[in-house]
Amino acid sequence: MAHGPATLADGWRAYIARWVFTTNHKDIGTLYLWFSFAMFLLGGAFAMIIRAELFQPGMQLIRPEFFNQMTTMHGLVMVFGAIMPAFVGLANWMIPLMIGAPDMALPRMNNLSFWILPFAFAILTSTLFMEGGGPNFGWTFYAPLSTTYAPDSVNFFIFAIHIMGASSIMGSINIIATVMNMRAPGMTYMKMPLFVWTWVITAFLLVAVMPVLAGAVTMMLMDINFGTSFFDAAGGGDPVLFQHVFWFFGHPEVYIIILPAFGVVSQIIPTFSRKPLFGYSSMVYATAAIAFLSFVVWAHHMFTVGMPIAGELYFMYATMLIAVPTGVKVFNWITTMYKGSLTFETPMLFSIAFVILFTFGGFTGLMLSIAAADMQYHDTYFVVAHFHYVMVAGAVFSGTAAIYYWLPKWCGKMYNETMGQVQFWVAFIGFNIAFMPQHFLGLAGMPRRYADYGLQFADWNMVSSIGAFIYGGAQLMLLYNVIATIRNGKPTTEEKTWEGAEGLEWTVPSPAPYHTFAKPPEFK
């Protein structure tokens, strides 16, 4: 591999070929990141439609059937198209740099994992234009709504999920193989950066539960088209079976989303506190404990489904247990900052906001985990508020922090700090205006997934919609900031962009050369 990467100067064909045929972890990471941002904007557009309709009571803009398609597609696109690929992109870019490897372990499979995604999402999005409309049964696609009563397009949804799953499994196997097999000499497991640790554990979760999701959609496919009765009591099946299978995937899935985010902030907070991470090994064990517990708590999503009381109690206590390792993490982040010489550049602002808002979301999670109380909260906006605090202020904030933090390493240009901070505050304020009122709405009894609502909910819904538009605007600012940085950012060639940064990725020049560590570096 003597030649460098093709640029536009080499002609269009060479340039496109570079991206389509690439086996380079940095190129593939970039592809993942741009793809996920595109999906983020698409899912965001769906959200804007939802919030515009909910701006006032009554039906204004769209029909209820279309509203249902929007909530479904918003959830699916954000979870599978935006958040997951974004962190896979970060993994691709950073893991080889952090462990001193020249590339991912299986580079061609890496390219395949990425290129499946555009096909999967093209199929998924095309359902919106099909007869009978797209999937309209919620991102959790409960049977029999998603089987007996589903539009024909559900079959496209099922196969799109299948190939997405294949992509995730291959991507994860690649990450596991890379970490187990490609570390530079001296990089023992307990010296690995936390981002790498959280990703291996996430990859393990993915390999374990994506096949279960494949099983769930396969059962749907068979029930819909081939006469089986998995989810049909008439034949001896049970719709609740769907929920068990789905949530056995679904709960680990939420940790798949949040663990890499934990990893990112565990890199950033020490850098801007100019102190090593407090309690490194407890962080590793806490991550592993969370991952383990995530397999045994799934039915906390099903408290109202009619489980035996013993089941309710077990799932309640097991869920509460997760708060312990999660608490350990929050404690460690705060203690890392304690007496540090802190500075508040954009990545740090997003990380601190992450710690505060994620903790808030964790607390509402704890409220939801009380089975008796969840009878009230379940399927209300309180749940919607809870998971947006953990997934948006959690995963998306952390992803944004990662972009600002590593952008100089990726493109050798510095973003504009003022613009970064402005974007942070708009996002932070917009987010809280959008989602804080949803707690109140939920506690007051507003159910989720309806296109309309009673008059008593009007005020807070309007506030929430305004916040959502502000937050949406903040994402356009992020896009602007990234493009402006790439095009006219102040060049920076220093290896170590941030004064307090530690780790192998800060020993290579900025921008990181196309091939790094052709010879393994020595890690002390």
């Binding site: 591999m1 290129w115 199929i123 570390r183 374990a208 769930a216 008439a234 034949g235 001896g236 099946g237």
Partner: protein, 313 residues
């Protein structure tokens, strides 16, 4: 941890994008096929996939034969294969878990019995009402020869239970019972593939090639017998995919297992053809080993199936 002094970094490759295109066409094509749109797109995707997979494996094998694949890359392949098998284990776990839940919990609920008898086995009011109001006349039983639908609605039911189940026919008729023979065949094949492996380790080519070929043959016999079993079920036992939850779980579990036996047999057959061409040695045996690990996995799944699907009623 890496011990190499420099790494293997492959060139750009056209294989992945072609594979992804094939997969995309297959996914889109399968969906339009099941809703009645013809199978053209699916077939096109399938052909692309078959060709590109063949090409991909040939290239990997060729790289390996030319010594381009260093030890580190080989370790990555090993890890890749092992974790792939783990993901397959989890896929089956979903179906075994479903069977457990349907059989142990749902079935008794539908029949108005207690949920799980561990803590308390008095039927809950909900279970009793469920049975009385929705499925009157249904009695929990496994294998269920009557569906709840049938019990409540008689001949108007959508789901009609099977006439006969695949269960253990009793000791006297045991020798005519296909599942038993299939078990014998698969267990034997796990042993024969191991003998082949020992042959390879001891540089005994004849032992290696011969026993590997025999294993492939056993795999094929298994598949033929299973096809025979399915035909019998459909034609003489009234046991089909739509004969309620028994048909559902029976065909889905054994069917997916059969699909994996097919894949495993194909992998072993490729290894066998390679062995005829003189590939593999004590130092270089990943392609064969991977197939044999997969084969052992398929075997273990069968043994579980044999007990929970066929034997224990």
């Amino acid at each position: 941890m890496s011990t190499e002094s420099s790494y293997y970094v492959p060139e750009q490759s056209k294989l992945p994008i072609i594979t992804a295109t094939g997969m995309g066409l297959m996914a889109y094509g399968a969906a339009s096929w099941v809703i009645g749109g013809g199978n053209m797109v699916f077939t096109a995707g399938l052909i692309i996939m078959a060709l590109v997979m063949f090409k991909w494996w040939s290239i990997v094998i060729d790289e390996n034969m030319r010594g381009l694949a260093n030890d580190q890359l080989k370790r990555s392949y090993v890890l890749g294969m092992l974790w792939f098998i783990f993901s397959e284990v989890m896929f089956f776990a979903a179906f075994f878990g479903a069977l457990f839940y349907l059989r142990v919990i749902v079935n008794s609920w539908l029949g108005g019995d207690a949920a799980i008898g561990i803590f308390d086995d008095t039927p809950t009011d909900a279970a009793v009402a469920n049975n009385a109001l929705l499925w009157p006349g249904y009695e929990a039983d496994w294998p269920p020869m009557v569906t709840p639908d049938e019990a409540a609605n008689g001949a108007n039911a959508t789901f009609i239970g099977p006439d006969e189940a695949m269960s253990f026919p009793g000791w006297s008729k045991m020798l005519g019972w296909l599942p038993l023979w299939n078990t014998v065949i698969l267990v034997t094949s796990s042993v024969t593939v191991h003998i082949a492996h020992t042959g390879l380790k001891n540089n005994n080519r004849k032992q290696f090639v011969g026993w590997l070929g025999f294993t492939v043959l056993l795999g094929l016999i298994f598949l033929v017998l299973q096809a025979e079993e399915y035909i019998h079920a459909y034609q003489h036992m009234g046991l089909t995919l739509d004969s309620g939850i028994y048909g559902t779980t029976f065909f889905m579990l054994t069917g997916f297992h059969g699909a994996h036996v097919t894949l495993g047999t194909a992998m072993l057959a490729i290894a066998w053809f390679r062995s005829l061409k003189g590939h593999f040695s004590n130092e270089d045996q990943f392609g064969f080993e991977a197939a044999s690990w997969y084969w052992h996995f398929v075997d273990v799944v069968w043994i579980l199936l044999f007990f929970v699907v066929y034997v224990f009623d």
